[in-house]
């Protein structure tokens, strides 16, 4: 196991642990206002300091991890659940109208960056964490469809697939039995990368007010709240930013490490 795998797994589990623990315990109530203690720098009482309402930043970061992970995880789930079958189907019927339709559909979705999708959804439904999930999830679909199709296409050329066809197996069965297990590693690695991109996207959307709404804490909105005050209370901006960096860095290292560990030959497009 490589160093990046170990470090990545450590950082990722640290963040995951914080999110899980926050369900049963946080140092303070993350929503409790305590105006007299506002804008305190990190100290023994408040490890990460307090915000402009005197709320404990450490507790908010813990609960914010929940939001980030939930949004990014569900978005990856949406992308995989829809993208992988589409990619498998496109590869199985290479060159057909179905393949063409799926790939052109992919191109079209790629023309809508997740921020643009979020803007559209918000314009219609109003802001909220669900919007962020849908927006990031939709953008993930073509990513997974494309990477699945690409890997599946080269597998379809291989002789063991021809042998399976000679044994009378249909496209659906071959996709499930031979193709999917052989692209699984690739999908795990890409899933980790999309997860980290999802964390970044969620932070961006919350920052501009298109993500989770108050009182749900989220790292992106903590940064937006810090905007007017960080010149005299830098910890307001530093701490949520570092939380994002640690999470994304951890997931990226984990993805890189997994790629080498699972199979040194596979390649992942960082789209």
């Amino acid at each position: 196991m490589s160093r990046s795998l170990i470090l990545g797994a450590f950082l990722s589990s640290l963040v995951l642990l914080a999110a899980l623990v926050s369900f049963v315990w946080t140092p303070y109530d993350y929503a409790a206002l305590n105006i007299p203690d506002k804008l305190q720098p990190p100290s023994a009482q408040h490890w990460f300091g307090t915000d402009h309402f005197g709320r404990d930043m450490f507790s908010m970061i813990m609960v914010g991890a929940r939001t980030s992970i939930a949004v990014a995880l569900v978005a990856v789930g949406i992308g995989m659940a829809l993208g992988v079958p589409l990619g498998l189907a496109a590869a199985a019927r290479k060159g057909s109208w179905l393949d063409e339709l799926i790939m052109r559909g992919n191109d079209l979705v790629f023309a809508f960056p997740s921020l643009v999708i979020a803007i559209l959804i918000t314009a219609v439904l109003g802001a909220g964490a669900i919007n962020a999930i849908i927006a990031i999830g939709i953008f993930n679909i073509p990513v997974f469809a494309r990477i699945t199709r690409g890997a599946a296409l080269s597998l379809w050329e291989s002789e063991f697939i021809l042998a399976a066809r000679v044994s009378g197996k249909g496209a659906a069965r071959i996709s499930a039995e031979h193709i999917l297990p052989n692209v699984a590693n690739l999908l795990i690695v890409q899933g980790t990368i999309q997860f980290s991109l999802g964390i970044l996207a969620e932070a961006g959307l919350s920052y501009v007010g298109l993500g989770a709404q108050p009182p749900t804490p989220s790292w992106g909105r903590m940064l937006a709240d810090a905007q007017t005050m960080f010149s005299f209370a830098p910890h307001l901006a530093l701490i949520p930013g570092l939380a994002i960096i640690v999470t994304v860095l951890g997931l990226n290292l984990l993805g890189d490490g997994l790629r080498d560990w699972l199979d040194p030959r596979i390649r992942v497009a960082r789209a």
């Binding site: 291989s158 002789e159 063991f160 000679v166 044994s167 009378g168 052989n182």
Partner: protein
């Protein structure tokens, strides 16, 4: 004095010994062939002369070019020597050229990088050497890109690059392995001509003993990084000392004795089959052109018969194979097995499929790496209505693995635990397990080393005896087809140009193309085979 003198060359890569005490020498105008099976270290010897070894390689001993040692020469010296004093030609012409530069630029680069002459002269020299290798600029302008040329033409460009500055030593690493026999013959002639014309020394790396026998002045036989035998070609062929050399030559011309069979009724009937592919349009509003891969092919394969299909790449034999297997539908004509069509109503006919199996070329790509042997071998059971289960299934697997010379214990292993030859045995076991009426061997021994190939051919002969096989053996390798089939068909440009009893087609070919093919194929001299 010799041009190149390799003395006690030893090489290790990251601590693993690759070459051990290799000695060889080449005189000007001489052709020295280094031969051996995969892993013998023959290509590494060539790369050591170029000092283009992989990272982590450490060399000991001496490689003297005109008396000057190349081992541990500074990189800048080697850059000056490469291309100017030593030229090199590689195996894969399809990938050896930069796809985004014109052939003229790439040949000129060989000249300009050594500042041998001004640009205008270099252009003339590039045109001149390209003409010399058979690509005259009036037919092949210097502005062509590699993808516009065939494999043989690209290899000519690679040769032109290597000889542009008339190096004293030319190294050719399997220069014709990726080419068809007729192209191979032309490239070998070209190389021989260049050697005598320029007085170069040629270090030729090849696994093909027939090529070696027909071309080399000196032969060096290698195994596991060591030179096992060396000598002048005519002498070595008559007096082989080392058992490995004898085994190698015996295996190269390996003959098997197929059991006699009583041929009865037709099994596979192919009638007037046509398969077209649409080509991309040249201009926007052109009517689409078609490439006719298989052109009105008809033949019959009788039960118990072993039929060969030979032809060069692109002749349509792969397309025909896929059509027979029911993997692709044909536009015109009819393919029937035992009287039933392989395609019925645009769908492959499962009743026919269970009577047919296939063994492919690539022993590495033929198996799902995530399944165990038991599951791999039993995949064709999917075709049966009531496949054997449990104990019965295990017995069948054990029987098949034993039949192909493996152990029943192997059924729990993964495919990466087997060598190439063993994998091909497993592929045969997979094909045999449902006792098909017909087996297609699609270049099934082409990727194997000669000694392994000989063993697989023996296995096929044994299986013919034990299971009364009927098969279609598709190959580009004439010598293999000659020994493993009763009847043979020669295919060219989608058509079957000649067919008949294997022996009579080979000894008395009627069609001009068959004659060309047989003449072009290098053969081992007779005395080489008598030694065994």
């Amino acid at each position: 004095m010799s041009l190149l003198q390799i003395e006690n060359l030893s090489l290790s890569i990251h601590g693993a010994d690759i070459l051990k005490q290799v000695n060889l020498s080449i005189a000007p105008g001489q052709i020295v062939a280094v031969t051996g099976e995969s892993g013998s270290g023959k290509s590494m010897t060539a790369l050591a002369v170029m000092q283009l070894l992989p990272n982590g390689a450490e060399a000991e001993g001496a490689i003297r070019l005109n008396g000057h040692d190349l081992v541990n020469r500074p990189e800048s010296d080697m850059c000056a020597l490469r291309g100017a004093s030593i030229g090199m030609v590689f195996q894969e012409p399809m990938t050896a050229l930069n796809p985004v530069k014109t052939i003229g630029d790439q040949v000129m680069e060989s000249i300009l990088i050594h500042k041998a002459m001004p640009r205008a002269h270099a252009h003339d020299r590039a045109a001149e050497v390209l003409s010399r290798v058979g690509l005259p600029p009036d037919r092949f302008p210097l502005s062509r890109f590699p993808h516009e040329l065939s494999g043989g033409q690209r290899q000519r460009v690679v040769i032109a690059m290597a000889i542009a500055l008339r190096p004293k030593l030319l190294i050719a690493d399997e220069p014709t392995t990726a080419l068809d026999v007729t192209t191979q013959a032309q490239i070998l002639d070209l190389l021989k001509g260049l050697v005598s014309e320029y007085g170069m020394g040629l270090l030729m790396i090849t696994h093909d003993l027939a090529v070696v026998a027909g071309m080399a002045d000196q032969i060096v036989v290698m195994r596991h990084g060591e030179v096992v035998e060396t000598g002048a070609t005519s002498h070595l062929l008559r007096h082989m000392q080392h058992p490995y050399t004898r085994m190698l030559f015996e295996a190269s011309g390996h003959q098997v004795a197929l059991p006699e069979t009583a041929q009865s009724q037709p099994l596979l009937e192919v009638t007037n089959v046509v398969r077209d592919y649409r080509l991309p349009r040249k201009r926007l509003f052109d009517t689409p052109q078609h490439h006719r891969a298989v052109d009105r092919v008809s033949f019959t394969l009788n039960r118990g018969e072993r039929l060969g299909l030979v032809g060069e790449s692109g002749c349509g034999k792969s397309t025909l194979t896929r059509a027979i297997l029911g993997l692709e539908e044909v536009q015109v004509g009819d393919i029937r097995l035992d009287g039933q069509p392989v395609f019925s109503g645009h769908k492959p006919n499962l009743a026919v499929r269970r009577k047919m199996q296939v063994v492919f070329q690539d022993p590495y790509g033929s198996f799902n790496p995530r399944h165990r042997v038991a599951r791999l071998v039993t995949e064709p059971f999917h075709l049966l209505d009531s496949p054997p289960r449990g104990r019965e299934m295990e017995d069948r697997i054990a029987e098949m693995l034993t039949a192909v010379g493996l152990s029943p214990d192997d059924m729990g292993k993964y495919i990466h635990e087997f060598s190439g030859g063993q994998r091909q045995r497993i592929a045969i076991a997979r094909a045999l397990i449902i006792r098909p009426e017909l087996i297609l061997f699609d270049e099934a021994v082409s990727a194997l080393d000669v000694s392994v190939r000989a063993q697989i051919l023996d296995l096929l002969a044994e299986l013919c005896e034990a299971y009364d096989l009927t098969y279609l053996f598709i190959s580009h390798d004439l010598s293999v087809v000659r020994t493993i089939t009763d009847r043979v068909m020669v295919m060219r440009a989608g058509k079957i140009v000649e067919e008949g009893d294997t022996e009579s087609v080979f000894s008395d070919p009627q069609h001009q193309y068959t004659k060309d093919l047989i003449n072009a194929a290098p053969t081992l001299p007779d005395f080489g085979q008598e030694v065994a």
